[in-house]
Every structure is written in C-alpha cells, then in structure tokens.
Amino acid sequence: MTAFAEFLPYILSGIVWTLGLVAGGIGIGFVIGLFMAIGQVYGGEELKAIIHAYVWFFRSIPLLVLLFLFYWGVFPATGFKLDPLACSIVVLGLRSGAYQSQIFRGAIMSLGDTQLVAARALGMSQMSGIFHVVLPQALRISMPGWSNEYATMIKDSSITFALGVLEILTRTRYVVAATNEALIPYFFAGALFLVLTYAGTKAVNIVYERTKIPGLVGKL
C-alpha cells in the first residue's frame, strides 16, 4: 500500500495524457464527422458512396487493429513519422469521425428540409443556410448522442497502452509491475475512468440544458 501511495502522482499525471487523447480524438472526429454528415445529406451520389465506405471501414475494424495498422503500416509506408501519442490521436480522431458523422447526420435528417428551404427562399446560399440555420439546430439535437461518444472515447483511449502512450492504464501497468500489487492500482485506474466519464457526460448535459430552446420540448 505504501508503495502504491508513492506511485500515486505518477498515475494521476496520466489523466493529462488520457484527456489529451480524448480531446484530440473528439476534436478531429468532430471536424471530420461534421463535414461528412453534411456531405452525406447534401452531397452528390459519388461523395455519399465515398463517405459511406469510410464510415463502414472505421466502424468495422477493432480499434486495436486500426492502431497497429496505422502505427506500423500506413504511416511508415506513406513516409509519416508519428510518435505513438500523435498516431493514437489521429487514429482515434479518424474513427470517431465515422461515428460522429452518423450522430450529426441523424440530427440533420430529423430537422427535415423545411428549415433549409426557408433559408434559401430568403436568398441565402446553400452553405449559409447550412451553417446559420441547419447546423446550430442539428448540433443541439446531437448533444445526447455526442455525450455517448465522449464516454466511449474516454474508455477506448486506454487501448493506446498497446503503443505505450503514457495514459492512465499504461502507467498503472508499470506500477503493477514495479510493486507486484494488482488489485489496488487497477481498481484505482478504473475509478479514475469512472470519474472522468461521469464528469464529462455531466458537463455535456449541462451545456445541453443551457442551450435548450425556450418552449421547444423534447425534440431539441
């Protein structure tokens, strides 16, 4: 126990890495997901087919396989030299983009086309209509689904231990090896993930409540 207490700050500093993975992955995924959702709803047939293939690819392959594929395969083969952290963030982001695109796509579809038609009737371009009228509403509708994505991401980030990224799990494993004590360190790591998941989804819920549109119940 005393040995574990000594290593406590070491594990705790893994939080920064875990949150870095999550923030980077969600951020990249947000941008990719948003543009792919717009493409899937409003784009031409070819674009839709490409996005469909992308989503299908990243949702069908286990994260661990993706990490190995990109770290030892795709990036070296294409001449990129990414360290494990950067590679993990990119892979988490590419994969999250596939999932987030479906959250946003569903939200945009649920709005129907009348909002965009009204914007176009006023003389707004398609792009203006999408950015000023469709997306502000679609993003609000997306928030519950999006908080799920955060919860998934924070847990999935631990898989990057396989590339030696110094997040919570990797550090915990080192401590377990050094102290020959498994129960308390792993229990502690689990508790950390639990707190992070809870705090994050709670935060999204608060934003969701704060951005609720007055009078509009349920749907938005």
Binding site: Q115, R120, L122, G123, S128, V133, R140, I213, G215
Partner: protein, 254 residues
Amino acid sequence: MTETNVVLKVEGLQKSFAGTKILDGVSFEIDRGQIKVICGPSGSGKSTLLRCLNLLSMPDKGRVWLEGREITNEESNVNDVRQRIGFVFQEFNLFNHLTALRNVSIALEIVKKMRKDEAKALAMKELEKVNLANDAHKYPAELSGGQKQRVAIARALAMNPVIMFYDEPTSALDPHLIGEVLDVMKKLAQEKLTSIVVTHEIGFARTVADEIMFMGEGRILEHGPPSQIIENPEHEVVRDFFRRINELYRRDEQ
C-alpha cells in the same frame, strides 16, 4: 410604359415530378400593386407553381421574367432572385433556434450584409407592422400559429421584396387564428404590395383580390374578377368547387 409595370411575367411553365405533369403550360402576368389569388383543388399545381416562380423548384420548360429580366435563363442568380420575392409558407418554417427578432434580422445580415444594429432596427420595425413588437424576444415554440405566421410575413417583408408569394398561409392555423393573419395581409394589400396568394379563403379573395386564377390539372382553367369567378364561372369544375366551399361556410355559420 405598360411593360415596366409588369412585375412578374410567366410563359408556358411546365413541371413534372417522376413522370407526372404537375404544371402543364401556365402563363400569366401580374402588374405592380395587383393582388392575385390562386384557387383550385389540391394537386392542381398551386404550390408547385409558386415554387417554380422563385426557383425553389426548377421548371422543366417555360420562361419567367421578374421586373422585365428573365430569371429562368442561365445567367440569373437564384439567390438574387429569391431576395426580391417574399415567400410565406403554409407551415410558417420559422427558424426554431432563433427569436422572432432574429428570425427577421438574420437574412438582412447574411444576405443583405446589413450591420447588426441596422438589421435589428429594421426587423423591429417589421415586427411592429405585424403587431408583434412585444413578442420580439420570444422563440417560435412560444408563439401561437397566428403569431408565427405573422413573424414569417415580417421576415419576408424585411427583405423589401418586389412581390410576395403566400402559399396557403392560413391552412395550418386554428380557425380562431386565421383572422389576425388575414388582417395583416389585407393591410399589405391596401399598401399595394404586389402579391400572389394561394388560398381558399373566399372572403379574402372577394374583398382583396384583383383577380382569381383557378387552377386545375396543372393549368389555369379560368381567371377573372373575383365576383365573376366565384359566382358565375364558365367551367363546371370551378362552379362545383365554389359551391362546395360556399356550402361549407354556410354550415359553419349555422
């Protein structure tokens, strides 16, 4: 001289959806300050006609001129055309995430590139015109149907259109809310704002319209002054249509 007075000219408009002809050669013109009401059974192409006229739907054939300039050729810019045509939808189509005031001002900022404070001031003026100044801060979901439709009218008016299209503006309203919307439309008609109104409100057509165009099977079957079309139409279909509407009104009154 007469040519410059024509706001909208339509010639041989045709439109099909999935092989079905919705518009089958519609031609008419409307002068500045005129109010035309379009009547006709559902499926006769009334809404499609309005949507083809502001290019929300592209006509297959035929030509349209807005203030003497053709809008159906390749050089015309749809966004420029639509700015000059106010469109009021049956289901209001207000932007759900914006207050009444922002609903009116947003296109002024984005499309007309007005400064924020200018846009806000103009939007407020338009809301006053439709008697909604006190509700400017409310969101669509906090407004009644009649209020929503009046915001939608203010939103279209703010763009300073040369012509207004109303697509069954009172059909989605509870009966007791229809009056407040029609009152606003009547006021605008008195100000000689050129308008095309798709509606079955016969009372409105009788008192406000310069002409009724009756549509059937994608064509204008008959057109003329309201009294003539409502009371003494040539076509059996038209006679039948107004007889049924009149019966409905009488039943309501009893």
